[in-house]
């Protein structure tokens, strides 16, 4: 009997340890944005430089989930009504994130916008990310991997770990182009300080990117405003507002997203080489062979 009890306890502890690991990877799991050890550290609210992450793992990088108080992986639940064109674009986007389309779980949460309840296997989806195309600004900012801000006198570079994508935010006083000839994956961006809030206005986005991984669309007429506030030594808060009358009948304000500051040497290769990872999804034929040999067959699409 004692043996049985010990074994049962062992199994129970194992299950609990496992569930802890799983929870740490789940939505809103992992560590908090602010580290109490940094509570008394002074900071310059106008200094946004450094490696920032929304990742909830102690390492702060490598996919997974967001930190516990950093907001989820969607832009926001308060989705504005679509225009007829917006509805058409939304319906055409078939994401692989959120609750599975038609599942009992999806049907049990009618309070959530349908965008979060329509996941299909990637083989049957249309997510540009599944073929490693650029995520675009909003989705990259929401993604739980690090983003380094390199601040120069006339611009800020935002370097995203996933895709190793770089975005330029000009601070030299220039105005946004009224109607850019060439839409960009990362748009056109200008930034300035409004008190202790750094405000970035952007336009000229390539409409093939998605706002977040739930497949919310935008047009090439989208205007994005980001408002960053450094609220602690190791925390930045971000609020975003999308104005895109071709797709949404009113502006869409995001959930507040938090980033935590990583020490400069937090991210290291096996050899100890510190800095944001070159987390590139390339070459294209490597991605293609993965999709054809694994991801597509897993969704029932078999290539001969």
């Amino acid at each position: 009997m004692r043996n049985q009890s010990m074994t049962l306890i062992f199994l129970l502890v194992g299950a609990l340890a496992f569930s802890s690991l799983a929870l740490a990877q789940g939505p809103g799991g992992g560590i908090m944005a602010a580290n109490p050890a940094n509570a008394k550290r002074t900071f310059d609210p106008h200094d946004l430089s450094g490696i920032w992450t929304r990742n909830g793992s102690p390492g702060g990088y490598g996919g997974g989930s967001t930190c516990r108080d950093c907001g989820d992986r969607g832009f926001g639940n308060d989705v504005p009504p679509f225009t007829p064109l917006g509805q058409k674009m939304f319906d055409a986007n078939k994401p692989s994130y959120g609750r599975n389309l038609g599942s009992a779980e999806a049907n049990a949460h009618p309070e959530e916008h349908i965008g979060r309840r329509r996941a299909v296997p990637p083989a049957n989806g249309t997510d540009p990310y599944q073929t490693c195309n650029p995520m675009g600004v909003t989705r990259a900012l929401i993604y739980p991997d690090p983003m380094e801000m390199n601040v120069l006198p006339d611009k800020i570079f935002q370097q995203f770990e996933w895709g190793y994508g770089t975005r330029t935010i000009w601070t030299d006083g220039r105005k946004l182009p009224d109607d850019p000839d060439q839409p960009r994956w990362w748009g056109y961006s200008v930034g300035k300080w409004d008190g202790n809030t750094f405000v970035i206005d952007s336009n000229g986005f390539d409409e093939r990117t998605w706002i977040d991984h739930f497949g919310y669309p935008h047009s090439d007429q989208m205007h994005l405003q980001e408002r960053y506030r450094r609220v602690a030594y190791d925390v930045i808060e971000l609020s975003m507002t999308i104005t895109d009358p071709k797709v949404y009948t009113r502006p869409w304000v995001s959930q507040i997203k938090k980033f935590r500051l990583l020490p400069k040497d937090a991210i290291k290769t096996i050899d100890g080489w510190a800095g944001v990872m070159e987390d590139v999804c390339a070459p294209a034929d490597e991605v293609d062979q993965f999709n054809k040999r694994v991801r597509d067959p897993a969704g029932g699409v078999v290539h001969k």
């Binding site: 996919g63 490693c132 096996i270 991801r295 029932g300």
Partner: protein, 153 residues
Amino acid sequence: MSGMPLREYIMKHKLTTYFLFSAGLLLLCTVLFAHHGTGVSYDNAKAFVATATVTEFRYANPHPQLYFDVKDDKGNVEHWSGELAPNPAQLIQAGWGKKRSEAALTPGTEVMVTIAPARAGGPVGLIQKIVNSKGEQVLGTIALGPPPAEGKQ
């Protein structure tokens, strides 16, 4: 099982117990991960353990892949394709860099793999765990991370 200590029962029925325990954990995993689209292509509730002979391993984004042969009781060989949930950046955090990982999974290596098969059927699945001939887990402690429908993990 009546009158038999559980430990002895487990020893006598090690494989069955392992399967049942794994199934329970994987069910828990499914519940926890379902919120963010995990398991959209794979069925964690049907995960099973198999002895596999590695034919190819690719340490790459968006997901590392393991290709392997599984032999049944009659000697029939089935070729499987599998992806791992953690991508190289996550594996590095667990100490599994490219060279170490590739050395552990060279073609011809025999390993025990836990596979969540595709909902669509066919010999393709999500690799949840790899154990080598010494009983050591290969590719770290985070192999049970979010399944790949979550994206690039």
